[in-house]
């Protein structure tokens, strides 16, 4: 299904593009729908040269080692782009992308997109800003993995998700909008599934509550911060 100009307008990346250019882009787009747990791109696959943006739903980006161990790199929601090498790299998928819930992905053909960008260089700056923020976030992740202990990395992940993916206030505390099951957290911070359960249920239990499926509620923000300070020193 092709996207309409008004659907494109909903994507923050395109907000600087004029209505005329959105009309121009529309025929070069496609919106594809995926079921939960469906793979959108396999690691090592050759990409078609096009922009990939999450149109609705949530997707997970992960890498697999030769021995079968998995690393969860990022979780993306609507409006976020992925598969950057399809536009700016060697067109080989560096990771596997799969849906966490029923999702839709917007594709825009590279040649048409670049033509629109040349007419509206502000779009290129927006992508540059988005990449720059990702580089900074990855710097933090690498620093955590090299120099911080596991409990600090786990708390930082929860705090990051609360800050960037939103929360809602419930009677028992502040609940993360994003679900973070044990397995996913473990493969994001570089610990085993069992170690993740132990840290969540013993070490940081009073400060957060974990419910089935990865529903996390922060009960005591000050306590979380104080655990980071204690273990960080």
């Amino acid at each position: 299904m092709k996207a309409t100009a008004s659907q494109l307008e909903q994507i923050s990346l395109f907000q600087a593009i004029s209505a005329d250019w959105l009309d121009f882009l529309a025929p070069y787009t496609e919106i594809c729908h995926y079921r939960e747990a469906e793979i959108i791109v396999h690691e090592g696959e050759i990409f078609a040269p096009r922009l990939h943006v999450v149109f609705s739903g949530r997707v997970l980006v992960k890498k697999l080692s030769v021995s079968g161990k998995e690393t969860v790199l990022r979780q993306l929601s609507s409006g976020e782009m992925f598969a950057a090498p399809a536009l700016f790299g060697d067109q080989v998928s560096p990771a596997t992308v799969l849906t966490l819930e029923p999702s839709a992905v917007l594709f825009v053909q590279k040649a048409a997109l670049f033509e629109a960008i040349r007419a509206t260089p502000r779009v290129a700056l927006q992508i540059l800003n988005c990449f720059s923020q990702r580089v900074q976030a990855m710097d933090k992740t690498i620093h955590g993995l090299v120099s911080e202990c596991a409990i600090v990395r786990l708390i930082r992940l929860i705090q990051y998700m609360a800050e960037h993916r939103g929360v809602e206030t419930t009677t028992s505390g502040v609940q993360l909008k994003t679900r973070l099951p044990y397995q996913q957290m473990a493969r994001m911070v570089g610990i085993s599934y069992e170690e993740c359960i132990r840290l969540v249920n013993k070490e940081i239990k009073p400060a957060i509550d974990y419910a089935r499926g990865g529903v996390i509620t922060i009960r005591d923000t000050a306590m979380l911060n104080s655990i980071v300070t204690t273990y960080g020193s």
Partner: protein, 219 residues
Amino acid sequence: MLSTEALKALHPHVHLQLYHQKEIIFQEGDTLPAELHILLSGTLQIKKSTATGKETVLRLLRMGDFFALPALFDESFCTVIVLATEDCQVLTVSKTTLLNAIQHTPELAMQFLVMLNQRLQQQHNTVHGLVSERAVVRLARLIHYSALHQGTELTVKGEQLQIQLPYYQIARSIGVTYEECSRLMKKLTDTVKYNRGGKITIFDWEALAAIASGDTDLV
């Protein structure tokens, strides 16, 4: 690395600054000027430090690489430490000049995006290595990557890396202790040789690539 054409387009508006070896250009938390910084010569180390002083070496920059990019997007605080590991020449371009240049030559922004994409993919590989690979695989990857991207020169003993990677720097890049790093290097004896000060010579590229791929068992 930025193309010569791109550097020429910016040329009339740049300023040149010199930094000496071991000089810190930015500290974490420093206010960034609204400028883009491009390394013209020398090597820079980008690192972060914890409250207790533990350091992580994130990457080395070489000629044509840029840094302090967040300054272009109204993020005025530096989030990393930028250290000159040898004498360096750095070009600075004001934010206004750069944005004007991009308006006239959007290809310039495309080049930045290609470079940033490479940096991001390298970061993803690093994270994947730290989370899912053994330390010896991470070590082999760092040496292999540095040889491919920073170059080597042929000596009588074999191909020597252009950059020096002392034990401490390797240890703080792949998340092991100094002692563990020295022990791991001995495991690679038939493949690479470490000499005082971080001079690394590669004897067997194929074996190094195989270890870096995670596909070889090393006892």
